[in-house]
Amino acid sequence: MAGTSTDLRGSGAEPADSFQEATIRSREEAIEALPMERVNPPRAFFRGAVRDVVDILRYRELLGQLVRKELKVKYKDSVLGFFWTLVRPMTQLIIYYLAFTIFLGNQQPAYAVFIFSGLVIWGLFTDILGGCTGSIVGNGGLLKKTYFPREIFPLSVVGAALVNFALQMLVLFAAIGVTAVFTDNRVVLTSDLGLVPLALLVCLIWGLALGLFLAAATVYFRDLQHLIEIILLALFWLVPIVYPVVLPIRNFTEGGHTTLLEIYLANPMLNVVVAFQRAFYTMGPEYTYPGNLWGRLAVLALVGLGLLWLAQRYFARAQGDFAQEL
């Protein structure tokens, strides 16, 4: 009897300690089960991308949080709030509409829809490029203190830009609806609508590829932030947004500059924009690009993917030094 009671007391006096020990031991066993992983392993230039993508996927929740942050913070204390996202493209639309139809006497039917269908996707591209360029430098504080794949920063810019893009698409649909109901312009669904996802994909691939490259390069050349604004301004007029693409095609062909024309048409964003026009601007098909956009976009998507991969590798190379360069 006495023996049992001591036993009981013995096991009864211990629980606090033995419980603790058990958690420590199980913790240690759990840790032991984990593999020893190398921190920031040098990844092969050609094969490292897969590992990086896996890493990024692990942090997708953070990506979602950061996108939400970007959107929330941008218009946090303003009265109109999110509505401001729409103000800029709408203003652009009104200015170009007035300038081209009233001052320059453009006769194109439903010209507003024409401009806006190009502006929407161009806006996405500039948002991505402009945002990505400063995304690493602008998040220096966070970057120096915490670790997660640095690609998350440019990616969150893309995410936020996509949300804005979706909103503007709603406006575009509304505009098309108004045109269909209140004017006698032709609004039809064509097979060209299938070009939209493909064109969007091309825009995202190229935007992200250039964005990743610019984000990393800006850390070393801060001037890029300002330079990129100028380049985008110039690029805007190289893409047929406010003027129909058929005009330069005609002018180049009449002038005999076929090589120049090919160079002009090779611009990936030009192809994306004219694809959007073909899909949404059915009011004047004679003003849109007549060629085979499916093939062109497919080729651009493939080239873009190659470029994206290269850009990611450059980014991965550079990112090891971000924390000390900022």
Binding site: R27, E28, Y59, G64, G141, L142, Y147, F148
Partner: protein, 411 residues
């Protein structure tokens, strides 16, 4: 013991290249490569840290301890060598690094938790505990930019400790917040240690290292000087501090000597020939607790001064004032001075704990201005076989007796 972190032969080189913009690069294209200065922030560091260890990284400013922490955390990648580790890691390099001022406390909790690698579902689970720990539930839906710095830190720390990391890296973050909050943080860290988690500290608070860590690593200019018991590491870093203080003291003495004699300055007196003695006038600079101790100096006045007093102050290496008094406070009326006087303070016993100390002397009017002051003019050391915390060494007698049942019943 399971190794959770292995640092193998890690070196980190920084190149200080100030030219950032394109213009500067073009203009200074030729000079850039010449002026590119490089330095090694870490040199051949080897460390193996077992799970459940609490390790303190100590060293002077610029010794590379924060760099090492960042390399372990993966924020910087080493120039040479590699770091391996296992288990989830949370780096508290700066509390609230991921906070955004325009977001509310609630939104920031989610954002910061996801930065530290917590999923939304897990954050939901811990949310109440986090808010509870921070103690700021009233302000949860206020934008963080309106928070006081204390509230900010509270919330940030609350998030960080609920991430459930296997390895926790802490860089000086405990130096913020009020006392009660610091205590709360330390308690949390202690409970982390009890749970067998691995913690690496970077701190200047040596007492904290002695208190919390089982192992300390001393870095100096990127080189590992010592790896082992915290008390020894702390003694070593104090010795280097003392060396520095020695140099400073010499400079101070030189300045005091160089003061032009008889010039129309605000210091009509001079203090010179300061010596630390064994209480009998013989110079001495290393003491055991309880040894007799003395300080002597020569005070010179060009004019006749009737109300004068001499003050003495002893500070430790942490700049804490350990002792200060003057002849007036000691109720001594000094004879008027003209010319030089030798002043000697004598103490029967020195009741200070192990460490380095600095002596400051001053001559001043009884209630008036300083006539002369020599700050940290001399240093001395106290070496103790027994390690004690605090400022004063109090020899103790302890006895432990059994308590019999009768006397308990009598109460």
């Amino acid at each position: 013991m399971t190794t959770v972190i292995r640092v193998s032969d890690v070196s980190k080189k920084f190149s200080l290249n100030a030219n950032k913009s394109l213009k500067e690069r073009l203009v200074n294209a030729r000079t850039t490569s010449e002026h590119k200065s490089e330095f090694w922030a870490l040199r051949n560091i080897d460390l193996e840290i077992a799970s459940g260890t609490s390790l303190g990284l100590i060293g002077h400013n610029g010794s590379g301890k924060s760099t090492l922490l960042k390399v372990i955390g993966g924020i910087l990648s080493p120039t040479e060598g590699m770091v391996e580790r296992r288990g989830r890691l949370a780096a508290l390099l700066e509390l609230g690094a991921g906070f955004h001022g325009d977001l509310t406390g609630r939104e920031n909790v989610y954002l910061n938790a996801s930065i530290l690698g917590l999923s939304r579902a897990t954050t939901d689970k811990y949310f109440d505990a986090i808010v509870d720990f921070s103690g700021i539930e009233e302000f949860l839906d206020t934008q963080v930019k309106f928070y006081s710095s204390g509230m900010y830190v509270r919330l940030a720390f609350a998030v960080a400790v609920h991430v459930d990391p296997e390895i926790l890296l802490i860089d000086e973050v405990l130096a913020v917040g009020d006392e009660s909050f610091q205590r709360k943080c330390l308690e949390k860290i202690r409970s982390f240690m009890r749970e067998g988690r691995t913690i690496i500290f970077v701190t200047h608070a040596l007492d904290l290292v002695r208190d919390l860590c089982a192992r300390a690593v001393l870095l100096d200019h990127g080189v590992m000087q010592y790896d082992g018991a915290p008390t020894q590491a702390i003694r070593m870093i104090r010795d280097t501090w003392n060396e520095e203080a020695e140099v400073e003291a010499e400079a101070a003495a030189a300045r005091a000597e160089a003061a032009p004699a008889g010039a129309a300055t605000y210091t009509p007196m001079r203090i010179s020939d300061v010596v630390i003695t064994d209480g009998e006038g013989r110079p001495k600079d290393t003491f055991k607790p309880g040894d007799p101790f003395g300080v002597e100096c020569t005070v010179t006045s060009d004019r006749r001064v009737t109300d004068w007093a001499v003050g003495i102050k002893i500070e430790n290496h942490m700049d804490q004032n350990c002792y200060a008094s003057n002849t007036h406070l000691m109720n001594l009326q000094l004879e008027p001075i003209e010319g030089s006087r030798r002043v000697a303070f004598r103490y029967d016993s020195i009741p200070l704990v192990d460490g380095g100390y600095h002596v400051t002397l001053a001559a001043h009017g009884v209630n008036g201005p300083h006539y002369a002051r020599v700050a940290r003019i001399r240093n001395f050391k106290v070496v103790d076989s027994e390690w004690q915390d605090g400022l004063v060494r109090m020899p103790a007698r302890v006895d432990v007796r059994p308590v019999d049942a009768e006397s308990l019943a009598a109460r």
